[in-house]
Symmetry: C2
Subunit: 210 residues, 2 copies
């Protein structure tokens, strides 16, 4: 488990995890790489290669033990520990994320919601109270926060990102439409740029018509 795994492989792992979770729900205990290949529309050799990065979990003639593989990938992805999340920006997107109960099944628990709009102060999304951004420092002193989600306009994102890192939060899930320039800081960033995704779709629409 010590060797460096490429980000391309890592990007495919959540998908394996998802499919294996569905197999467990269906009561499937083991599966061959060919069957898994068919379901996931990935070649069997790709699956074997990907999983061999982590030591290879299959046995010749037996296939994969679904629950074991699911648990091992969960460990690789860091899902054995709970991650406390705060969301900064309690607009529609922030509220949508706070309402997404499925994240909790994976151990991602939203424990705080922040905004700068006084009209939102003290309102609730599910059982999560919206606090003002100037209460963040105090909140972080009293709660363990693992991930800060940024769903505010891009103009404010950079300064808020620096602030959360100053407060000791070392992971950012960024929805603001900007690439955060935090290169020298001790922080991991995952960007979700929805417009970029739409533009890629648009490209593929044009291409499919040619």
């Amino acid at each position: 488990m010590e060797k460096e795994i490429s980000q391309a492989v890592i990007r495919r792992m959540p998908r394996y995890y998802r499919y294996l979770g569905e197999l467990i729900d269906e009561g499937v205990e083991r599966i061959s790489s060919n069957e898994l290949s068919y379901r996931m529309q990935v070649t069997a050799s790709q699956i074997r290669q990907d999983l061999n990065n982590f030591g290879g979990f299959g046995q010749q003639g037996y296939g994969y033990n679904v629950k074991y593989l699911y648990d091992e990938i969960g460990k690789i992805l860091g899902l054995t520990q709970k991650h406390n999340i705060i969301v900064i920006g309690a607009g529609n997107l922030g509220q949508a994320l706070a309402n997404y109960v499925k994240f909790e099944k994976l151990g991602f628990v939203i424990i705080g919601l922040f905004d700068v709009n006084p009209a939102l102060k003290g309102t609730f999304v599910r059982d999560i109270e919206v606090r003002m951004l100037d209460e963040l420092e105090d909140f972080v002193k009293h709660h363990k926060v693992d991930i800060a989600t940024l769903t505010m306009p891009k103009e404010a994102a950079e300064s808020v990102a620096n602030k959360v890192v100053d407060l000791g939060i070392h992971a950012i899930w960024n929805f603001a439409h900007v690439d955060l320039q935090l290169l020298d800081r001790d922080v991991v960033v995952e960007n979700v740029h929805l417009s970029d995704s739409l533009m890629q779709l648009s490209y593929n629409i044009v291409k499919s018509r040619q």
Copy 2:
């Protein structure tokens, strides 16, 4: 422009487009690949290579004409035409997307919002009325719809996806947490799996602590 461009290159294009748009907003008329490299934190040779796929827009000793490059990339990405979008699933995420006015600047216009929950019928998000899903067929007869966005629970996603393709919509922006199995159908799909993105972040958190 006729040769096949890899999806890896295409995935980077929206980011170029975004940065060039910011340069235009700042009044910058031309930029060297070194300056662009510094801003985007990508090597200058990567930039030259990427843009050479489309014929190469730079001139030795001059750099790139920002507005020209922006427009050309916009053409490549299909942004010179308007894309009408409907959103199926008017819950928090669907409403968040419908409220995202910035998509419109890129030519992506949300013209319809659908749900199966009668309590939402006739309500509005911005100026977009929520209609019932059984009105979709009639709506599509009277409106040009280019992209269907799926923001409903995964259990319903596959059948709704097939329905929209039946109705002649050939592009799907999928937020449902499932990979749509529409392989034999004439449709392009762009997936946004938010949980996958969180799991990737989680992996990188664990790795950063090692």
